[in-house]
């Protein structure tokens, strides 16, 4: 599969497609926390870096095979997520945002000072295991599981916390438990994404996981439409490709990126697909098709 792809697809495009897949996994994780459950987390890059470093350290210094590294990265990030989540999920809205920012910054500074993580130099020589089929295979599995989750009873409980926490609690939803579960699942995906990212770049340093990375991931979720899986995927694709497409404007790239965020939010305040309902789309489609068939006959 890989050699076939490399034969027919330009390497540059293949790399962007892999990066899109990794970002989708990361953004879907954040979508569970922020989009679905409504808990604003601005430190997703911190959990991503925990996964990336766990995987990289296991692979380079202990020679652990990649699938084990991947799983360990997810579990480690989820473990940290739950440990930090239990106390901080009592906090509301913007206090939670601040604490997650703070946590991510602390993680970054710790990796900057940790001997085994290579300090500021970071880790290099991580085996390049991430490829198209692994990333997109995982994307398909995660999207399927995620869709199933959101349609299930626990999924609806998560949505209910976003809509109205008091009403959810009154209806018998154990909000604290579900918030921690959402945080655990979201950070698990962050760890998986981080591990894939580390084995894709083969070189990581704490600078890869700064505040801007968390912000980028949050942009993907909000831009596409909060809590919607297709929305998150569309948002991720647009925001991963945007910097590449904007290469022609060279140093003005980030200027356009910033302006793009403002303009998109002003014209689509609920995100691109945030207020689109699929049965509406189907209805429009069938109506449009009927009129088209009438005209044809």
């Amino acid at each position: 599969m890989e050699s076939l792809l490399q034969q027919y697809v330009d390497l540059y495009y293949l790399q962007i497609v892999i990066l899109i897949g990794i970002n989708i996994i990361l953004a879907l994780g954040l979508n569970i926390i922020t989009g679905v459950t409504g808990q604003l987390s601005m430190g997703h890059a911190g959990f991503m870096s925990i996964g990336a470093y766990t995987s990289a350290i296991l692979a380079t210094q202990f020679g652990v095979p990649f699938p084990v590294c991947l799983l360990a990265a997810g579990l480690m990030a989820a473990f940290m997520g739950v440990v930090i989540g239990i106390p901080i999920l009592r906090l509301e809205g913007d206090y939670l945002a601040m604490v997650t920012i703070g946590f991510a910054e602390i993680v970054r500074v710790v990796f900057l000072n940790l001997e085994i993580a290579g300090r500021g130099m970071g880790l290099s020589g991580i085996p390049a295991e991430t490829n198209f089929s692994i990333v997109w295979g995982l994307v398909i599995i995660i999207v399927l599981l995620n869709t199933g989750l959101l349609k299930s009873r626990p999924g609806r409980a998560l949505y209910s916390i976003r809509e109205d926490e008091i009403a959810a609690e009154a209806s018998g939803v154990n909000t604290t438990l579900y918030k921690v579960i959402a945080f655990g699942m979201g950070t698990f995906l962050a760890g998986i994404g981080g591990s894939l990212y580390a084995h894709y770049l083969t070189y990581i340093n704490p600078g890869n996981f700064g505040f801007m990375r968390s912000v980028e991931l949050l942009n993907m979720v909000v831009l596409g439409g909060m809590g919607s899986i297709p929305g998150t995927i569309v948002g991720t694709i647009i925001l991963t490709i945007a910097p590449e497409v904007l290469r022609f404007v060279q140093e003005y790239r980030l200027l356009f990126y910033g302006a793009l965020l403002v303009i998109l939010m002003i014209f689509r305040p609920n995100g691109l697909l945030g207020d689109v309902r699929w049965h509406d789309v189907k209805r429009y489609w069938s109506r449009w098709r009927k009129t088209w068939i009438k005209k044809g006959s």
Binding site: N113, L223, Y252, V262, M265, I266
Partner: protein
């Protein structure tokens, strides 16, 4: 040693407090974390530098000029990027603020390059006084006094003037304030102007104090000031002042006695610990949810 660190911490903390006030006032009224605030602070530092380089003004004129410039800028940013989003979800306004922040810092990189520049030494004659074992420079005294004057001025404005009353009314209930005949749009613009002016003053003073001004200085300063505002209880003006000063002092003591390489982690570590014990911040009021 301890007193020395305390004074350094107070100096740093009073600049944090100046920036944190902008976050807390805006948050108190429109519930928006204004992520572009750090960039306004950075623009203030650069505009002060521009005034010093072109007109050779002294530091007080530079501060005043930067404050006026950033006032206009704050109002403009609110008008373009936040006002159209006032009715929609708070996260969209947040993303818009992040967009503005990226736009402004990139704009400055394009204008001046990513490297740091310093204020010429002519901006202020710095004398150092020795009191016992403590070193105190005239610059530190100037920063402490200016910050104190600005904060007292703000407190008087909020407590004694009509506009201040309007601001307090808006922070309690935006709709009720509008029904009472308060021009809500103008009050919000005024709040942005006030917050941006304080940040600009902080920017110029930090630029002179650390002798470095660069386009990315707003990000970390903004995050720390936001942490300070949350520490004091977001929405509370005295809270922002207390939070800023406390954070500055504790950060300096932490660097001196613990480990300097963990500098950026200390502020956030303190913040998390405080929030775990007092989730509403030091001076914030615990609100009960009503159904």
């Amino acid at each position: 040693m301890f007193l020395q660190q305390l004074i350094n911490g107070l100096t740093l903390g009073s600049t944090y407090a100046l920036i944190a006030l902008g976050y807390t006032m805006v948050y108190g009224i429109v519930q928006l974390i204004n992520f572009a605030h750090g960039e306004i602070y950075m623009f203030g530092a650069f505009f002060g530098l521009l005034l010093v380089l072109t007109f050779d003004v002294d530091i007080f004129l530079a501060i005043a000029g930067a404050m006026v410039f950033c006032m206009l800028m704050g109002v403009l940013v609110e008008r373009i990027a936040y006002r159209p989003l006032r009715g929609s979800s708070r996260l969209s306004a947040l993303i818009s603020a992040i967009g503005v922040s990226i736009f402004l810092s990139t704009f400055m990189v394009l204008l001046r390059g990513p490297n740091s520049t310093s204020y010429p030494s002519s901006v202020m004659a710095i004398k150092t006084y020795h009191i016992g074992s403590i070193e105190l420079s005239s610059l530190q005294i100037m920063i402490l006094v200016t910050a104190a004057v600005l904060m007292i001025g703000l407190e008087l404005m909020v407590k004694r003037t009509r506009m201040g009353k309007a601001m307090r009314a808006c922070s309690q209930d935006l709709d009720a304030a509008r029904l009472m005949g308060i021009n809500v749009d103008r009050t919000i613009s005024f709040t942005f102007a006030l917050g941006s002016a304080l940040a600009a003053a902080g920017g110029v003073m930090v630029g002179v104090y650390y002798n470095a001004v660069q386009p990315y200085m707003g990000t970390m300063a903004g995050l720390k000031a936001f942490a300070a505002a949350v520490l004091g209880g977001i929405g509370s003006i005295p809270g922002a002042m207390l939070g800023g000063i406390l954070l500055g002092v504790l950060e300096n003591l932490g660097i001196a006695y613990l480990a300097s390489s963990y500098k950026d982690a200390i502020a956030f570590g303190i913040l998390i610990l405080v929030l775990l014990i007092r989730p509403q911040g030091l001076l914030g009021k615990a609100t009960t949810k009503k159904v």
